[in-house]
């Protein structure tokens, strides 16, 4: 907090930091719940808490009930002749598996055994569990200076008790060598349209103190974070079902249900904070295509908005039990003249971590402090 504490805006941001992180009590109650949360975390780290233990392992997935049911029906209907066909098919399948594994066997001669992921009953890599996201940020070269970066809402670390998303030792060591941030363009100088760059610099100059509601930092308004705006000091949880991949954020309790059942995007006139995501598996990589964004979330502290023309493609690939390689391609033709590629990592979260309730609007005093009145009468 290097900006004068006397300024109402400065104060509000400081309060925001505390409110953001906890289920919204008064300061003393917050401190109390911090204590409780800390003790819970410590307990679960030691596996003393049954609740803490329970959440990290979600690897038992739903098998497809429809699949087994229809298989039963089929085998009832079909006669003996089909058994012969089935046997032939089986032979073909075995043969093709053997053929497919030949190159892998040859490759094994030169390189150490390749790790293969555990699989869900529908045959995809099992990424279920708790994760900490790292590195996925629109970190540009030579960003404009903004006093925002000096504020607590994003510039100050949370107390360590909130780091339930901290990665495991294995993941932590691997993180050191992982790509992070903007990887294309390689020099991290973003391919701005000049008018868009000018517009965001103009916008930034009105943010501290905010000239009006429009210029209040998105996270301070408890806006759903979009794909890059999430606060990665909070963990994520992945749950997989046949036909969908679910990514849950602790931050602002966002849930992204990414259907992989071949359905199309929602209609073009629907605009969403988190966009409309549909996924497909390319081999063992989940590819998520997202459109239908509104223009109300931010890319970063220094890029406080994007346009409604935003289109993203994310790729999730499990590298080992502790690392999911995460890449996102950003296309926003109203802002940039070329796509931007960003790399990041989902690293396995510490054992015993779990999603807690993140109450933002319920506890934040940011807007009442900025505008001098609250949402309820008498505030």
């Amino acid at each position: 907090m290097s900006v004068a504490n006397a300024s109402p805006t400065g104060r509000s941001h400081q309060i925001m930091t505390v409110a953001n992180a906890s289920p919204t009590r008064s300061a003393s109650a917050t401190a109390r719940s911090l204590e409780k949360r800390r003790s819970h975390q410590v307990m679960s780290g030691a596996n003393a808490s049954p609740a803490g233990r329970s959440h990290q392992i979600m690897s038992v997935a739903n098998a497809s009930p429809t699949r087994s049911a229809s298989a039963t029906a089929r085998s009832l209907k079909k006669g003996r002749s089909h058994q012969v066909i089935r046997r032939i098919l089986l032979h073909i399948a075995v043969a093709s598996i053997l053929a497919g594994s030949l190159p892998a066997l040859q490759a094994q001669d030169q390189t150490p055994a390749k790790w293969t992921p555990a699989r869900t009953p529908d045959g995809h890599p099992d990424m279920q569990g708790m994760w900490a996201r790292r590195g996925a940020a629109m970190a540009e070269a030579n960003p404009p200076k903004t006093p925002l970066s000096e504020f607590g809402s994003t510039g100050q670390p949370y107390p360590t008790v909130f780091n339930t998303g901290v990665s495991t030792p294995q993941a932590a060591s691997a993180l050191a060598n992982r790509p992070a941030g903007v990887i294309e363009p390689a020099d991290r100088v973003l391919p701005w349209r000049p008018e868009a760059d000018a517009a965001r610099r103009e916008f930034l100059s009105h943010m501290i103190p905010p000239a009006s509601l429009k210029y209040v930092e998105a996270s301070a308004r408890c806006v759903p974070p979009g794909l890059l705006g999430g606060d990665d000091r909070h963990p994520y949880q992945i749950v997989q079902r046949p036909g969908s991949f679910v990514l849950m954020y602790e931050y602002n309790h966002v849930t992204r249900v990414i259907y992989t059942d071949g359905r199309p995007h929602v209609g073009p006139n629907i605009g969403l904070y988190m966009g409309d995501s549909i996924g497909r598996w390319e081999g063992d990589t989940l590819v998520v295509d997202t459109t239908n964004f509104n223009d109300k979330t931010s890319f970063s502290q220094t890029i406080p908005f994007h346009s409604d023309a935003l289109h993203t493609v994310e790729r999730f690939t499990m590298v080992d039990p502790y690392i999911i390689d995460y890449q996102i391609t950003i296309e926003d033709p109203k802002m940039f003249t070329a796509p931007i590629r960003i790399a990041g990592t989902f690293a396995a979260a510490a054992k015993g971590s779990e999603l807690m309730e993140f109450a933002c609007a319920e506890g934040s005093q940011t807007l009442p402090n900025i505008f001098g009145f609250g949402l309820f009468p008498g505030q």
């Binding site: 300024s7 009930p65 905010p210 009006s212 249900v257 359905r263 629907i270 779990e354 807007l367 949402l375």
Partner: protein, 260 residues
């Protein structure tokens, strides 16, 4: 008639009778791989409980409705009933869910007039509500409510299966949520037991028992059906009322200390 022919005859009779036999059976409920009822999907109420759990007449933008409280009325203690009446008078400005878009709590999240999605795995059932993108985790791994947790807007939920019914025990509920728009309320001692029972593939019976020794004279129960949203490709969208309310309240306001 040869024996062989008799067998064939019987076989064909059996085959022809099969559809009729199948029709006579009640439609089975979908099941997950672990044999439990499969609750996955989008669900929504068709009731007026979000406005008022009890019998109520229509008024501007409020549908008339028959109550969902077993026995008709909520058994308030005298002082708590006075508070309910006071809340009712101030409901347009003071209902935390409607006036500020705070998370609606349990059980109100279930009967808000918005869909919610159930994401079911053997050890965790997640409910993701369109209203304010609220979410709750229901742990079905046999763990009890943890000691020393603070209160949460959506409570702490632990579930178990009783036959084909999902029974969810909810504690740690924040006392600042209301049970409906009519000002029905509770304290931090509220304990809710919910029961979710599939009655056929597309309908679920929702029951909730509410116990709060600081506010009610005895436990009481509500029940209503949940309907599966069956539109093609239907999904949870966004109802970000936090943002809509901020726009309405502060959209034309001037920040304190802003340059003139």
């Amino acid at each position: 008639m040869s024996k062989r022919l008799t067998v064939w005859f019987a076989f064909w009779i059996f085959l022809l009778a099969l559809p009729a036999w199948a029709q006579a059976q009640p439609r089975g409920i979908p099941r997950a791989a672990d044999g439990k009822p499969d609750l996955n999907g989008l669900w929504q109420v068709l009731s007026t409980a979000a406005w008022d759990l009890e019998d109520h007449n229509g008024s501007l933008r409020v549908h008339a409705g028959q109550g969902v409280v077993e026995g008709g009325e909520i058994p308030y203690q005298a002082s708590a009933l006075a508070k309910k009446r006071d809340n009712f008078q101030r409901r347009e400005t003071d209902d935390p869910a409607e006036a500020a878009c705070y998370m609606p709590g349990v059980p109100r999240a279930t009967y808000m007039p918005f869909p919610f999605e159930i994401i079911q795995n053997p050890k965790l059932i997640t409910m993701s509500y369109e209203f304010g993108h609220a979410r709750r985790s229901i742990f079905t791994d046999g763990t009890p409510h943890p000691d020393g947790f603070p209160d949460f807007w959506m409570g702490d939920s632990r579930g178990r299966w009783e036959g084909d019914t999902l029974v969810v025990d909810v504690t740690n509920l924040d006392d600042r949520t209301w049970l409906d728009h009519a000002g029905n309320h509770h304290s931090d001692a509220l304990h809710v037991v919910e029961r979710y029972t599939l009655t056929d593939p597309d309908h679920m019976l929702y029951e909730a028992t509410l116990e709060d020794p600081k506010v009610f004279t005895r436990p009481w129960k509500i029940s209503m059906p949940l309907y599966r949203r069956m539109e093609r490709n239907v999904k949870i969208l966004e109802y970000e009322c936090v943002q809509y309310i901020q726009d309405q309240k502060y959209g034309n306001a001037k920040p304190v200390g802003a340059k003139p």
